[in-house]
C-alpha cells in the first residue's frame, strides 16, 4: 500500500512543472508529539495540480468485524471493492457528502464495488456493527500523502507556486475535521499543531 502510493506520487511527479522543490509538512499534537496518519494535501493555486484521471482499483475488506485498511487514499474516479470475509452479514454505509452509499446486508464471500467520483473524505460504517469504522480520502490533488511515524510528509516536487495546505485526521477536533493553511511559493516546510479527539477504544489503530 505504501509502495503503491509512492509510485502514484512518483507518477504525479513526472507531470510536475520544472519549477519544483521539496516541501516538508510536520503535524504535531497539542503537546508537541508527532501525529501519524494525518492526510496532508497541497493545493497549488489555479488548480494546476489537479489530477484529471482516476486510477486503479482498491479493496477494503471486512474481516473480524473490522474494515481493512482503516485509512485509504484514492484519486477521484477510483473503484473500491468491499469483500466480506466474516461469517456475519455487513451493512456498509457512508453519509459523507463526497460519497453517500449503502451496501445492504451482503454475506460472506460476497463483494460489492463502489465508484468514488468526487473528492472528499468518506467515513465508512456498518449499520449492524457500530464499532466498525474506516476512512477513504478521495483526493483530486497529486500532492496528497499521509504522515509517517515522525508526523512528517515530504513532497519532493512541490511546485513553486502559491496554494494552500490542508491537514485531515480521523480524530482531529475542528469543524469539518480538517485544517487549512495558505502556502507561499518559496515555502519549503510547514507545521500543523492539531488537537485530537480520543479515538473509540474498540478501534484497533495498528492494523492497517
Amino acid at each position: 500500500m505504501v509502495r503503491r502510493i509512492s509510485l502514484f506520487a512518483a507518477a504525479l511527479g513526472l507531470a510536475a512543472p520544472l519549477t519544483a522543490a521539496p516541501l516538508t509538512v510536520r503535524v504535531i499534537d497539542a503537546s508537541g508529539r508527532p501525529v501519524r496518519d494525518a492526510v496532508v494535501t497541497l493545493y497549488p493555486a489555479g488548480g494546476a495540480a489537479r489530477s484529471a484521471h482516476a486510477g486503479g482499483r482498491y479493496v477494503i475488506s471486512q474481516q473480524n468485524m473490522q474494515f481493512h485498511p482503516f485509512l485509504t487514499i484514492v484519486p477521484v474516479g477510483s473503484d473500491v471493492s468491499f469483500p466480506n470475509f466474516d461469517n456475519t452479514k455487513h451493512h456498509v454505509y457512508s453519509f459523507s457528502p463526497a460519497k453517500k452509499f449503502e451496501l445492504k446486508l451482503f454475506a460472506k464471500d460476497q463483494s460489492r464495488i463502489v465508484h468514488f467520483d468526487k473528492a472528499g473524505v468518506v467515513a465508512l460504517g456498518c449499520n449492524i456493527h457500530d464499532q466498525m469504522s474506516a476512512f477513504i480520502v478521495v483526493t483530486d490533488s497529486a500532492w496528497t500523502a499521509r504522515t509517517n511515524g515522525q508526523g512528517l510528509v515530504t513532497f519532493s516536487d512541490a511546485p513553486n507556486a502559491p496554494g494552500h495546505l490542508t491537514v485531515w485526521q480521523p480524530y482531529l477536533r475542528a469543524p469539518g475535521g480538517q485544517i487549512v493553511q495558505a502556502a507561499s511559493p518559496a515555502q519549503r516546510s510547514a507545521t500543523f499543531q492539531v488537537r485530537l479527539r480520543q479515538p473509540p477504544s474498540s478501534m484497533a489503530m495498528t492494523d492497517y
Binding site: S96, K100, L124, G125, N127, D130, R173, P175, G177, R197
Partner: protein
C-alpha cells in the same frame, strides 16, 4: 454574701443556691444537647434531602440520556443529520421532546450547526454549547433563555462524530416543589446560578434572596455542614450543594433551607419543659431546705431564748425532744442550768456568810444595814446597832492557840445568835460581832438585849480542858439619831465600844456625841503629832534626882514637853497614849533618847540621865539600835544612861522582853523599874531580871505620913531592894517630913518638887554653873 441574722435563712439560701447552680448547669447542658441534637437532626435531614435531589438528578439525567442515545442511534435520524435534512431532524426532535415532556431539544453538529425546536433559545446560546460538547460533556446545568436547565447530550456517530443530540429539562418551580414534597421535612429548595456576572435565583420557592445570601451560599458550597441565612425574612438553616454545570464559566448551587424556628420548634418545646422543670425543682429544693433548716434551727432558737433568760438570772429548762444531737444539747443545757443554780447558791453563801461561824459576813451585814436604813426611812422606826468585842481575845488566842480561839469564836457566835434571836447577827471579822435590832417604842429593849448578850457570853466555857469565862464589851449606836448612813452608824457604835472597854470590860455603852468629839480631837492630835516630829515642837525637861547618901544631885529624869503652836503646852498624859496607839511613840522615843544623851554628855560625869521607854518601843521599835546609836553619837558613857520601864512591858513581851533588857544591861545601860508598887507588881520580875533601881510610886509617898500601911510598904520595898542590891528612888517627894521618913527607911534617892521641878536644858546648865554647894546645902 451579706451576713444573715437567721441561721435557717442562711441555710436555705446557701443550699438553694448550691442546688440551683447544679440544676442550672445540668439544665444548660441538657438544653445545649437538645439544641445540638436538633441542629444535627436538621443538618442530617438537609443532607438527606440533598442526597435525594442527587438521586433525582441522576435518575432524570439517565432517563434523558437513554432517550438521547436511542435517538442518536437511529439510522434514519443519523442519515437525516448527516445529510442535513432539517425537516426530518426537527420532526424527530419534536417527537422525542413530546414523549419526554421537554420544551427544549437541540441537535448540534460537529460543524457547529444547530437545529432547535425551542425558538426561545438564541443561536448564540446554542453555539456556546459546542465547546463543552466537543469536550465530552454530556450532562450539567446551563442557563438557556434565562432559565436554568438540566442538559443531557448524546453523540451522533455516523460512524464518526457528526453531532450531538441535546435534551434540556427545565429546573423550574415544579421540579423544586417535587423535591420539597419528597423531603421528610418542610424545606425550601432553590437553584441559584451565576449567570452573566451575577447570581440569581433561577428557580425555587425562596423569594427575595439578597446578595448577602448568595455570597453566604457560595461560601458554604460543598461544605457538609449547614449554615444559617435569611430566607424571605425568616431565619433558616440552609445547605448548599454544588450542581454540575455544562460549561466552565457557569456555577449553579442547589440551596436547601429549613426555617429555623420550625426546625427547632420541638427542641424549643423540650427546652421550655426543661426550664419549667428546673424552676419547679428549684422551688421544691428551696422549700425543702427551708423546712429542714427550720427543724434544725427551731430547737436552737429555743435554746438561744433560754440562754438569754438564763443570762438575765432566770432558771429555765428547755423541753427535750428526740434523741439526736440537738436533744443532747438541750439536755446538757438543762443540766448546766441546774449546776449554775447550785454554784450561784454556793457563791452567795461564800460571799455572804462567814465560813467559821456560819453567820452572815460583813458584806451581807452592809446590805442588811442599808436595807434597815431604807426600811427606817419608810416606816420611821428606830433600830440599834450593837457592836460586840470579846475582851482579851488576843491573849486567849496567843496563850491557848488558834484552834482554841476559833472554838471560842464559834461558841460566841452561837451564844450571840441565841441571845439575839429574831435579830440580824453577823461576824465582821476577828472577834467582832454585830447585832441589828429593830426597835419599837420601847427603848429599854436595847438595854435588855445588851444585858442578855453580856449574860449569855459570860457563861463559863471549857476549851481543851481549860475553863474560860469570856467577857464581852458592847457599843451601841441608834439609828437614825446616831448616824444617817451605815458607815457613820458603824463607826459610832465602834466609838461606843471603845468607851465600854474604857469603862471596864464586860459592859455596854451607848454612843454619845462627845465620843465623836473626842475621837475627832484625837484624830487632830494624831495629825499634829506627826507634824510635831518634823517641826521639832518637842522639848525635854529635866527633873533632878537627889542622892541621899552623897547629898548631891545624882541624876536627871528626862520628861517630854510638847509646845503646840496653837494650843500651847500639851501634857504627855494627853498625847503619849495617842503616840503609843499610832506607833508614833517609836520616832518620838528615839528623839528623846538622842536628845537626852546629847544633853547629858555636857554634864558632870557623875550625873546620870534617865529616859522613860514605852512598852510599844520595846515591842515594835528597834530600841537597842536607837540607844546604841545615841550613845555612839554623843559619846555618853552607857553607865550614865538609865532606861525606865514599867511592869506593863512584861504583859505582852515574855522572853523577847527579857532578852532585850539583858542586852541593854550588857551594854552597860542601867534599867530602872518605874511606878513600882502599882499594877501587878509581881515580885517574880525582880527575880528574873537584875534591875538597877526601883522607883517607888508616888502614891505611896503621898500617903507616907498619913497611912500606917504606906510607911510599912515603903520600908518593905527599900529593905527588899537593899537585900537584892537594888537602888530605890522615891517619887513625888514634896515635904521635908516625907524626906526625913524616906531617909530613915534607907531610900537611895528622892525626886520631887521639894527639891526641884522639871527644868529646861539651859536651867540645868545654869544650876551646874551657879552653885553646886548651894544645891547641896539647900537640900541638907
Amino acid at each position: 454574701m451579706r451576713p444573715f441574722r437567721s441561721l435557717s435563712a442562711r441555710l436555705t439560701v446557701q443550699f438553694a443556691l448550691l442546688f440551683a447552680v447544679a440544676m442550672l448547669a445540668v439544665s444548660a447542658a441538657l438544653s445545649s444537647v437538645i439544641s445540638g441534637a436538633a441542629s444535627r437532626e436538621v443538618q442530617s435531614q438537609l443532607q438527606s434531602s440533598g442526597a435525594v435531589y442527587d438521586r433525582l438528578w441522576q435518575q432524570r439525567a439517565h432517563e434523558l440520556q437513554n432517550a438521547a442515545q436511542l435517538l442518536a442511534h437511529d439510522f434514519g435520524f443519523r442519515a437525516a443529520v448527516a445529510s442535513g435534512d432539517q425537516a426530518t431532524m426537527q420532526s424527530a426532535l419534536g417527537n422525542a421532546a413530546a414523549r419526554l415532556r421537554l420544551r427544549s431539544a437541540f441537535i448540534v453538529t460537529a460543524e457547529g450547526k444547530v437545529s432547535s425546536i425551542d425558538p426561545g433559545v438564541t443561536r448564540a446560546e446554542t453555539a456556546s454549547l459546542w465547546d463543552p460538547l466537543d469536550d465530552g460533556r454530556q450532562t450539567g446545568v446551563s442557563v438557556l433563555a434565562g432559565r436554568p436547565r438540566q442538559l443531557v447530550a448524546a453523540p451522533i456517530m455516523a460512524p464518526t462524530l457528526i453531532g450531538w443530540v441535546v435534551f434540556a429539562s427545565d429546573l423550574d418551580q415544579r421540579e423544586m416543589r417535587g423535591l420539597e414534597r419528597l423531603s421528610a421535612i418542610p424545606l425550601h429548595a432553590a437553584v441559584v446560578v451565576y449567570d452573566k456576572g451575577r447570581w440569581a435565583e433561577a428557580s425555587g420557592s425562596m423569594s427575595a434572596l439578597d446578595a448577602g445570601a448568595f455570597n453566604l451560599a457560595q461560601a458554604h458550597v460543598g461544605h457538609p455542614a449547614s449554615f444559617e441565612m435569611d430566607v424571605g425574612g425568616t431565619r433558616s438553616i440552609a445547605l448548599a450543594k454544588p450542581l454540575p454545570t455544562f460549561s466552565g464559566g457557569e456555577h449553579a448551587i442547589l440551596l436547601l433551607a429549613y426555617p429555623k424556628a420550625q426546625a427547632l420548634a420541638d427542641a424549643h418545646k423540650l427546652q421550655l419543659a426543661l426550664a419549667a422543670m428546673t424552676l419547679l425543682g428549684l422551688l421544691l429544693v428551696a422549700y425543702a431546705t427551708w423546712k429542714a433548716a427550720g427543724r434544725i434551727t427551731q430547737p436552737l432558737a429555743r435554746l438561744d431564748e433560754a440562754a438569754g433568760r438564763l443570762a438575765s438570772g432566770e432558771h429555765v429548762q428547755v423541753r427535750v425532744r428526740g434523741e439526736d444531737e440537738l436533744a443532747r444539747l438541750a439536755a446538757s443545757f438543762n443540766e448546766m442550768v441546774g449546776k449554775i443554780a447550785e454554784r450561784e447558791q454556793r457563791i452567795t453563801q461564800l460571799a455572804f456568810n462567814d465560813v467559821l461561824t456560819g453567820l452572815p459576813n460583813r458584806t451581807m451585814f452592809q446590805q442588811q444595814l442599808d436595807h434597815a436604813f431604807r426600811a427606817a426611812v419608810g416606816n420611821g422606826g428606830l433600830f440599834a446597832l450593837h457592836c460586840l468585842d470579846l475582851d482579851q481575845f488576843k491573849v486567849i488566842n496567843d496563850t491557848l492557840g488558834h484552834p482554841a480561839g476559833d472554838a471560842l469564836l464559834v461558841e460566841a457566835g452561837r451564844r450571840v445568835q441565841q441571845a439575839a434571836r429574831g435579830h440580824f447577827v453577823a461576824r465582821l471579822g476577828g472577834d467582832e460581832f454585830v447585832v441589828l435590832q429593830s426597835v419599837g417604842d420601847d427603848r429599854n429593849a436595847i438595854d435588855r438585849l445588851a444585858r442578855d448578850i453580856l449574860d449569855a457570853m459570860a457563861q463559863p466555857l471549857a476549851i481543851d480542858g481549860n475553863e474560860l469565862v469570856p467577857s464581852t464589851s458592847i457599843g451601841i449606836a441608834i439609828a437614825p439619831q446616831d448616824g444617817s448612813d451605815g458607815q457613820t452608824l458603824l463607826r459610832n457604835a465602834d466609838l461606843a465600844l471603845y468607851r465600854a472597854k474604857e469603862a471596864g470590860r464586860g459592859t455596854y455603852a451607848f454612843f454619845e456625841e462627845s465620843l465623836n468629839e473626842r475621837a475627832q480631837e484625837r484624830r487632830q492630835l494624831e495629825t499634829d503629832l506627826r507634824l510635831a516630829i518634823e517641826r521639832g515642837e518637842f522639848e525635854l525637861y529635866y527633873q533632878p534626882l537627889f542622892d541621899l547618901e552623897q547629898n548631891r544631885i545624882c541624876s536627871f529624869e528626862a520628861l517630854i514637853r510638847w509646845n503646840h503652836p496653837m494650843r500651847g503646852q500639851i501634857s504627855p498624859a494627853d498625847f503619849i497614849p495617842v503616840a503609843e496607839d499610832t506607833g508614833l511613840i517609836v520616832p518620838i522615843g528615839a528623839w528623846v533618847v538622842r536628845e537626852a544623851c546629847a544633853q547629858a554628855a555636857h554634864w558632870p560625869e557623875h550625873i546620870r540621865i534617865a529616859v522613860n521607854v514605852s512598852p510599844v518601843q520595846f515591842h515594835r521599835g528597834t530600841l537597842n539600835e536607837t540607844i546604841l546609836r545615841a550613845l555612839a553619837d554623843t559619846g555618853l558613857a552607857p553607865a550614865r544612861l538609865e532606861v525606865e520601864i514599867t511592869e506593863s512591858i512584861f504583859l505582852d513581851g515574855g522572853d523577847a522582853t527579857l532578852k532585850l533588857l539583858h542586852s541593854l544591861r550588857s551594854l552597860g545601860v542601867r534599867v530602872a523599874l518605874d511606878d513600882f508598887g502599882t499594877g501587878y507588881s509581881s515580885l517574880s520580875y525582880l527575880q528574873s531580871f537584875p534591875f538597877d533601881k526601883l522607883k517607888i510610886d508616888r502614891s505611896f509617898i503621898q500617903n507616907l505620913l498619913t497611912r500606917d500601911g504606906a510607911s510599912a510598904i515603903v520600908r518593905a520595898i527599900t529593905e527588899l531592894a537593899h537585900a537584892l542590891n537594888i537602888e530605890t528612888t522615891a517619887e513625888g517627894v514634896e515635904e521635908t517630913a516625907q524626906l526625913m521618913e524616906l531617909r530613915a527607911h534607907g531610900c537611895s534617892s528622892v525626886q520631887g518638887f521639894l527639891f526641884a521641878e522639871p527644868m529646861d536644858a539651859s536651867d540645868v546648865d545654869k544650876l551646874f554653873r551657879e552653885d553646886k554647894v548651894a544645891m547641896v546645902q539647900n537640900v541638907a
